[in-house]
Symmetry: C2
Amino acid sequence: MTKRGYHHGNLRQALIDAALDLIEAKGPTGFTLSEAAKQAGVTPAAVYRHFEGREDLIAEAAIQGYDIFADLMEYAYQSGQPSALAAFEATGRAYLAFARKYPGHYIAMFESGISVNRTPKLSAVSARASQVLEKAATDLSQHIPADKRPPAAMFSAHIWALSHGVVELFARNSPGRASPFPADDLLESGIGIYLRGLGLIGPDDCS
Amino acid sequence: MTKRGYHHGNLRQALIDAALDLIEAKGPTGFTLSEAAKQAGVTPAAVYRHFEGREDLIAEAAIQGYDIFADLMEYAYQSGQPSALAAFEATGRAYLAFARKYPGHYIAMFESGISVNRTPKLSAVSARASQVLEKAATDLSQHIPADKRPPAAMFSAHIWALSHGVVELFARNSPGRASPFPADDLLESGIGIYLRGLGLIGPDDCS
DNA sequence: TGTACATCAGTGAACGCGCGTTCACTGATGTAC
DNA sequence: TGTACATCAGTGAACGCGCGTTCACTGATGTAC
């Protein structure tokens, strides 16, 4: 809602929003430029005033997603300070919360098949998101004796993979694949067990 | 290669194989019935002699995938006996190996969006696959003191999610998303840390 | 304030394309006598 | 063995459809004087 006055007002964002709706509803490849245009009340050709084409529209949606994602993770990280452990756990929870709250963005980011190196902008904003998680992991790894400390990048990758797996398999209502447990619990308990395995929480405070 | 003699010989399987190739190359939605027919050297209409349509062909590919998958996991499970721990770890490794070796099947099974309840056959064969993993988890959980033992279904879900996440994010050459570590190592070390968190392996035998 | 002009967001028609699916058909294969 | 017939896997043409993209255009908005 920038200018309010031109023909449409803010078609660019309206198109992105429509794309996100459609991506959420039909998957990244079921999404259609023409349908997004229709949903925004506009001719397909109008899209080309704002984007280079179909792919560019998806990429823009992904960029906005990474931005929200990084902000959310950053906020969660801060909110757990000064405890490295609390910060890390909050960051993990924020991952799932993001996937839940912004499924269209999530899909555009991780399932649309667009390369993260498509544009410098996209690559930068996705790097920012990874770095938050990696920072949380690095902080936390300081608490592990140096000789048995795995690389922070490795265990941030573990947590990312676990989170992504939970989202894909159990958080989304994967057709016909019922979750045995609520996704939150699954992720929370999984991270808990993992951190205990790293010796970062005592053997008994089973969260 | 059943009869060898009719017009094509074994068009049905040739179509499934072509579909798997295409799914691997272009994703589940980029896959096209017409192209699969062409790759099998046949008119699109011929497909309808063997399948009800596009979806049915994908479902059949998924069914064959689940069958191979379950066999592979079963074999890995057996190969680790009588050690519950070895069996469990082998099963986890088999997951990744399957995803690596049969990417077309893996995508048809987990990313094609077809419901696992589409047909009784599909639902049965997918249940068989889950059960192998769950059995391995149940065996293993016997070694955890009953009072602090999480449900086996839960930790089989954890391992499944971790494996799936590793596959999706790091094993497939996700466009532009370079893996910081080899996927095998990532999964192996992740499972190791997780199992230590469950108290199933000692704090020092860092596999 | 009023007028002439430039800008440019969105239109509407058209394009070529490949899709999934249908249908009547053909002709090779298998079978009964 | 030879002939007449039934089967049915695959053909080829056709269908209606929605897609992404292009293009010359129009007409509302903003601006210079």
